[in-house]
Amino acid sequence: MRNLMIVAGKEFRDGLRNRWVLAITLVFGLLAIGLAYFGAAASGQVGFTRVSTTIVSLSSLAVFLIPLIALMLAYDSIVGEDEQGTLLLLLTYPMSRVEILSGKFLGHAAILGVSTLVGFGVAGAIIAALGSVEQLGELVAALALFILSAMLLGWAFIGFAYLISVSVSEKSKAAGIALVVWFFFVIVYDLALLGVLVGTGGQVSEGFFHYLLLLNPTDIFRIVNLTFFEAARTQAGLASIGANAAFHPALLIGSLLAWVAVPLVLALWIFRRREI
């Protein structure tokens, strides 16, 4: 346990040192403020828009960005240390492989978690202070849910990154697979679902279809944030189908948690068997 925290601390410090934390925080913060301020520019006005509009546009952009950042942050986590020889060295130290991998995961999760919290949190505070927010309570609740689900989404993709990283022996291969994974979950999966829906003329049972959406963490993230606002459903696209299913928020958050846990456990399992 002690070694786990040492590894996590070192990983987090790496994140501070090579400016990952700063970069992600800035990107998230500027994205949120920019969307809040210019979000209504298309309709001919500039200025802070409604909270619901802001969160909806924010989540439809974040759903592309967060998985990409998470994968880029962690894809070389294990395979990178293997290539530079420090993994071999770490394994001769008095700690288990589970401790090494969990520690590194914790460090990466902290990097993304802190950046998400600070980036979107500060942006929220600025929006609340400068904009004319009619209902502060609504902003706080929506933003809290958004930040929580964004963190879980990021951690799920860090889990995928670890799964990739323990499975390959070359960094470049890990990067390639990471890109494919991103492409699949963010774009291909929804397109395929849409194709099935249209191709079968809507014959697919609705209940079954709802659960198919739970099989993709990015769709869960969309549903969580879109269903929060009744008004937003018109803009929700495919996820509005899930919104109509009225999944309980706890079920959605639980599914996201499962998406964090499953790839991580799989990665641990593979890492324990990895030849060095």
């Binding site: 410090r13 040192r17 020889g85 770490l90 001769t92 008095p94 700690m95 060095i276």
Partner: protein, 206 residues
């Protein structure tokens, strides 16, 4: 009781069809220095990985300090081992001090040892610089300092003199000797370039 540090009894290691080690037997006692020489792919690094418990032998018996290095006593044994892998590249973003501090804490040793160790390998002047500014020789010295953490009773050095100039090589011998002699307990096989290995072996036997 004079228990051998390493005992290998007809140890073999196969990777699929490839036989990396075949019937290797050796005994290494306290205070002994063993140089392992051989052509590329002769199994030097494989032997070290076996001794470190990173991989298990496919046949034969291997004991380190009387225990199976890959067994339940592994963590305990590892506190007494120092290892320098070949071609290791430390974390470029961290300073030499931070790298060594990280490894020292993982070995459950306080940060107090870090500065003296870095000074001993001749990196005292550069310890707060990032590793990415280090030359090849300086990186190798950092690796040696890492292997020396915690006064290990068995040191395994894989190609320890790569990148070191003659002064560094001499200093390296001096370091190992200064530590090893008085306590007379430091032992270690090292895969090395033959000339240097012979020189250090001769020194040890003189």
């Amino acid at each position: 009781m004079n228990q051998p540090v390493i005992e290998m009894n007809s140890v073999g290691k196969r990777f699929g069809k490839l036989t990396a080690l075949d019937e290797v037997s050796l005994t290494l006692g306290e205070g002994e220095v063993l140089g392992m020489m051989g052509h590329n792919g002769a199994g030097k690094s494989t032997s070290m990985k076996l001794i470190l418990g990173l991989i298990r032998p496919t046949s034969g018996e291997l004991k380190v300090f009387g225990h199976d290095p890959g067994g339940t006593a592994a963590n305990d044994l590892r506190l007494r081992l120092g290892y320098l892998p070949e071609n290791v590249q430390f974390y470029e973003q961290l300073s030499g001090f931070e790298v060594l501090d990280y490894f020292a804490r993982l070995k459950r040793i306080g940060s107090g040892v870090v500065k003296p160790l870095l000074e001993r390998v001749g990196l005292g002047h550069a310890m707060h610089r990032r590793v990415k500014t280090y030359s090849k020789g300086m990186r190798q010295r950092l690796g040696l300092a890492q292997a020396l953490i915690g006064e290990p009773r068995l040191m395994l050095l894989d190609e320890p003199t790569v990148g070191l100039d003659r002064a560094g090589t001499r200093q390296d011998g001096g370091t190992a000797r200064a530590d090893g002699r008085p306590r007379d307990r430091r032992s270690g096989p090292g895969a090395a370039d033959p000339g240097v290995a012979l020189r250090s072996l001769r020194r040890d036997n003189s």
